[in-house]
Symmetry: C2
Subunit: 293 residues, 2 copies
């Protein structure tokens, strides 16, 4: 193989692109980019990517970028639907047995949700869905309750939409942060989440449609728990009755994260005031890994 | 390895993502996406991509998309600077000995340049640079002159900018299409191109800076030639005196594409009217491959 400076054959081009990063001062960045060159070039060769396909890929990425707004992150959707988000998560966050497993953060998390008192509700709009009481305790893997843990929750409404997607909802509807006391316990009212489609009117939706995939995710409540001295966990509570537990469009379901939304009649003790239908309760502890583990 | 539906380990996640495309009706698209999953997942594992690095990558791609406009294509720049554009070109367009080699199209080509008469000039603004006369013949590899070939040319001005980047230039400055007659000959006036930086005020420029790479390309004139019955070739004529022939930021230089801009004094025959300085001439034939080769 000839060396640079005039790469002509595929091997020479790959070697030249790799070598162009030899002088990168940051070792990790150099490694990331040289490996990226190797893997992307290997892909292009192995599939024999044509000029038209290359143009289609450039167009797809450009459209994906154009679809991103302050409240929509199409590249996260792309990463999610290619299984990359779950893979990064799996590599980064192996947890010891008994600890709460993580899953995708998803594109709908909003920083700075309101701090709400325990036993209050995240519901700020009537018609958001069937009431659900969520309770549990934040514990460490060593067994102790965690005081001062922030339990950040967000989810969709009965119309499938998160507040951040839906101008018809108050911006803080169905989201909130709850801070545990000395007993580590949390409790809040919300609604039962529903199965929903990831936003499928953009390039990722087109990719799914073109490949015979559907955009559905199983109903879930997002929970992110952080506490001093512990690793933060971003996870879901999946509804055990969802029809899409087995074919989540973003591969996020883990058996340990599936919970029962236990139905209760309006006459049962604890029923929300003024609600005449079925309501639900979910109980699930969150078990954190000490930061030094 | 367990099968879906609940992938938890990295291997299971990759298998699930791959399998999700099993039902894609288009075989080629299925192959492209399943190989993409394999290669991207292999990359993420091999480098041990962290959550922060994943976030940085999502941010980088989003910024790259936001930088694209009607006249700026940051994803093509990204492909160019990673050597992918030249690799796709090398895989797609191997040409027989004697035929004109191709190189990157680049992000500055504009469809629909004006058809100009032979021997006219593409210069629409004074001060665009030192005059250069470009002549040659379009031939087939079999040796015959090609009649009716469209010679589409574009290049930068003395200020390093292409008209499409520079509101100070008329939009069709330094670009045009010339149609060959029965002799296959072409001839037009332009200016001597200059070394220039690819647009480096966006994410790709940041990537180059962070990795110790420069954004310079060697001076060149773009030529794309198409003719009925022949394969279209998109190529450059590189100035043999450029300081960046050996370190083109996009790996586009091929030895066969380097030409001499021969200097001439204002007193020499053929000098452009009203020009009192040095002018140049370049002679280079374009040899096309029959479409059925």
């Amino acid at each position: 193989m000839r060396e640079e400076p005039h790469p002509v054959t595929p091997d020479e081009i790959t070697a030249a692109a790799r070598k162009s990063f030899d002088g990168a001062p940051d070792r990790r960045l150099r490694f990331l980019l040289q490996q990226l060159v190797d893997h992307l070039h290997a892909y292009v060769r192995e599939v024999g990517l044509t000029r038209d396909e290359w143009e289609a890929a450039v167009g797809f990425l450009t459209d994906t970028g154009r679809t991103c707004t302050g409240s929509r992150q199409e590249f996260i959707l792309l990463s999610d639907t290619l299984g990359l988000s779950m893979l990064v998560d799996a590599l980064q966050h192996p947890v010891p047995p008994g600890a709460t497993e993580s899953t995708v953060l998803g594109p709908f998390h909003v920083e700075g949700s309101p701090l709400r008192p325990m036993w209050s509700s995240t519901v700020e709009k009537e018609g958001s869905g069937e009431p659900a009481l969520v309770t549990g305790t934040v514990r460490g893997t060593e067994g102790r309750p965690v005081e001062g843990a922030l339990v950040d929750v967000w989810q969709n409404a009965a119309n499938q939409l998160y507040a951040v997607q839906d101008p018809g909802q108050p911006p803080e509807n169905l989201r909130g942060v709850f801070k545990t006391g000395a007993d580590g316990a949390f409790a809040f009212w919300s609604v039962r989440p529903v199965d929903y489609r990831i936003p499928d009117d953009g390039p990722v939706g087109k990719m799914l449609a073109a490949t015979g995939r559907h955009p559905w995710r199983p109903a879930h409540l997002h929970v992110m728990v952080s506490a001093p001295g512990y690793r933060t966990v971003a996870t879901h509570l999946f509804d055990a009755t969802s029809a899409h537990l087995d074919d989540d469009a973003v591969f996020g379901v883990k058996p340990s994260l599936v919970v029962d939304f236990v139905p209760h009649g309006p006459e049962e003790p604890g029923a929300p005031e003024g609600w005449n239908g079925t309501w639900y309760s979910v109980e699930r502890d969150v078990v954190l890994v000490p930061a030094d583990d």
